[in-house]
């Protein structure tokens, strides 16, 4: 079963919830993996402190032009939608950082002058953290495209067991890549106007993907009741409400797990997972 933890608004508590959920499940003997798909700014490792056992470079295929074969016909430049390969005065120039790796230029070249070489977009690291299988992607600083790296992180989802996917904030292509294929999407929000606005956008995104979802209201006693009212109106399951707790904020700031503060928190995460399981149809129980 794959549970994706997403939000819309940044800083609502996705990583806190995803890591603490993973550890709670592992402590109860479940086979669980945590996949950090916020490849731009991954933070799960700060809390889970995994031992990294493998590291691999991830690349996207970008064109390499053999100048000796190139006739300057310009067909490559014409098919490219990203200005990643252009032909000016019968000379071909490539801008690999703009390339989406579609293979179009290589396909249309009548002289077979284009081959593909990998451009590194980032690295994937895998390991274990206290019984939780761990994988994250680290996007190379300066790289614009995260979806290819996110796709690779998700390829590390093991067969069987529970996979918790920690998504980036927002609602556009990197989030879609992280969330698609999930059995359940947990949307984490805060009860403020910004939280509500971004939750509505996130709900729209999950509906577009036609996936089951539920909401967690974090820091539930700040702000007002409009998020709760919105969930009720839209018939969206409110899976949990977590009160604002300075101890959680302080533990978080030190890179510590919430479930290590007090037993009540492990109970909360166990409950949370049971509610998700019930929604998905009892695939697993904690």
């Amino acid at each position: 079963m794959m549970v994706a933890v997403a939000s819309g608004k940044g800083g609502t508590g996705k990583t806190t919830i995803a890591t603490n959920l993973a550890v709670t499940l592992a402590r109860r003997g479940e086979q669980v993996a945590y996949l950090d798909c916020d490849v731009e700014e991954p933070n799960g490792h700060i809390f889970l402190k995994p031992s990294i056992t493998s590291s691999a470079s991830v690349g996207v295929p970008v064109p390499k032009v053999d100048a000796s074969k190139c006739t300057g016909c310009g067909k490559c430049g014409k098919i490219c939608r990203y200005s990643a390969i252009v032909c000016i005065n019968k000379k071909v120039l490539t801008f690999p950082e703009l390339c989406h790796g579609c293979g179009g230029c290589m396909l249309v070249c009548p002289e077979d002058a284009i081959s593909e070489v990998p451009r590194e977009v980032g690295v994937i690291e895998e390991g274990m953290a206290d019984g939780v299988g761990f994988a994250h992607g680290l996007l190379r600083v300066g790289e614009a495209m995260s979806p290819p790296l996110i796709r690779e992180v998700k390829r590390r989802i093991p067969m069987g067991g529970i996979a918790i996917v920690d998504a980036p904030p927002g609602t556009s292509c990197p989030v879609i890549e992280a969330v698609k294929g999930a059995d359940f999407v947990l949307l984490v929000t805060e009860p403020t106007p910004f939280g509500l606005n971004d939750l509505e956008l996130a709900v729209g995104m999950v509906r577009e993907l036609e996936l089951p979802m539920g909401v967690v209201i974090n820091r539930a006693d700040v702000g007002d009741g409009r998020v709760k009212e919105y969930c009720a109106r839209e018939n969206i399951e409110l899976v949990a409400e977590i009160r604002d707790d300075r101890k959680i904020a302080e533990a978080y700031s030190r890179g510590e797990m919430v479930v290590d503060i007090a037993g009540e928190w492990e109970e909360l995460f166990k409950e949370l997972f049971q509610r998700i399981s019930r929604s998905v149809g009892g695939a697993s129980s904690a």
Binding site: E41, G104, G170, C173, N197
Partner: protein, 301 residues
């Protein structure tokens, strides 16, 4: 004309709340909300939209089912898993394009042997020029599950620059997106000053390093504000040390204050809501930024 871009690396550190306060400060400025994915600045600034335009970032492939001969070439060539394979009532294999997965590369359009694939432009969102109580604002809304956020961000910034020129405003303040990916890169390239708003947490520190590295990769002068600094003074000190090491001066420290949320509920920035130690910290930071931006202007003239 100077451009200040406010980013964070980590989400939820307070970029938009701080930009809303900057908007309320003296001086003619143009605001640009470049968090096109999940824009929030309008919730405080209550813009009156003067013009609204559709944004077309690229194209999308659409198969004309009636002309499709079911050869499967599109599926074989698509690098993005965007071709959906199905069966119709007669039992034939059918092909259609998943609009969410389609990246608009045009390869399927090219390889289709019977030209059964259309390639219309795709509307990715809308952008707006508005008036607010603090001056003009350019903002946008990327459509749900849409792409080309970088292009939309660039458009918003260019429009803001245009308006600043027309109205004689000397400053553009940009509210950026979290992360370090394409919308953030599109927000900062060519900016005069980047302000990173961070928080005193391990996550904040980790993300600060990456976002400062990004700004320096593009050779942009970068300064830091530690928001909610009193939540962990040890981490605040650690961030100050690290910022100095990476060449990003800390120019502001703002207390954690529940008044920020109370103000947001009333559609105000905190500096419009109350006058406290917290608001003075934001005002002091603004003065420092203003000085830096003017100094930059003098240095280049």
């Amino acid at each position: 004309m100077r451009e200040l871009v406010v980013i964070s690396g980590k989400g939820g550190t307070g970029k938009t709340s701080i930009v809303a306060s900057f908007a309320a400060m003296d001086g003619k400025k143009v605001l640009a909300d470049c968090d096109v994915d999940a824009a929030d600045l309008h919730l405080v600034l209550e813009p009156t939209v003067r013009s609204s335009e559709a944004f077309y970032g690229g194209n999308e492939a659409v198969i004309r089912t009636e002309d499709c001969v079911g050869c499967g070439e599109c599926e074989a060539r698509c690098r993005f898993d965007a071709v959906r394979v199905g069966r119709n009532q007669a039992g034939d294999t059918t092909y259609s394009i998943d609009p969410v997965a389609c990246e608009g590369c045009g390869v399927c359009v090219h390889v289709c042997p019977v030209d059964a694939i259309d390639f219309p432009r795709k509307k990715n969102g809308d952008w707006f020029i508005s008036d607010t109580r603090h001056g003009p604002m350019v903002h946008a809304k990327l459509g749900i599950a849409e792409e080309n956020s970088g292009k939309l961000v660039t458009l918003v910034r260019n429009q803001a620059k245009q308006i600043a020129k027309e109205q004689g405003a000397s400053l553009i303040v940009v509210d950026g997106a979290p992360g370090i990916g394409c919308p953030v890169i599109a927000s900062i390239t060519g900016a005069d000053l980047v302000l990173v708003v961070t928080e005193p947490t391990m996550s904040g520190l980790h993300d600060l390093e990456r976002v400062v590295a990004l700004a320096h990769h593009f050779s942009i002068k970068t300064v830091v504000c530690i928001n909610k600094f009193d939540l962990n003074e040890e981490m605040t000190a650690a961030i100050e040390r690290r910022s100095a090491e990476v060449g990003a001066q800390v120019i502001g420290r703002v207390h954690y204050d529940v008044a920020v949320t109370k103000a947001q509920l009333e559609k105000k920035s905190i500096v419009e809501y109350c006058h406290t130690g917290t608001t003075r910290e934001i005002e002091d930071m603004w003065s420092r930024l203003h000085e830096m931006l003017c100094v930059e202007a003098e240095a280049s003239e």
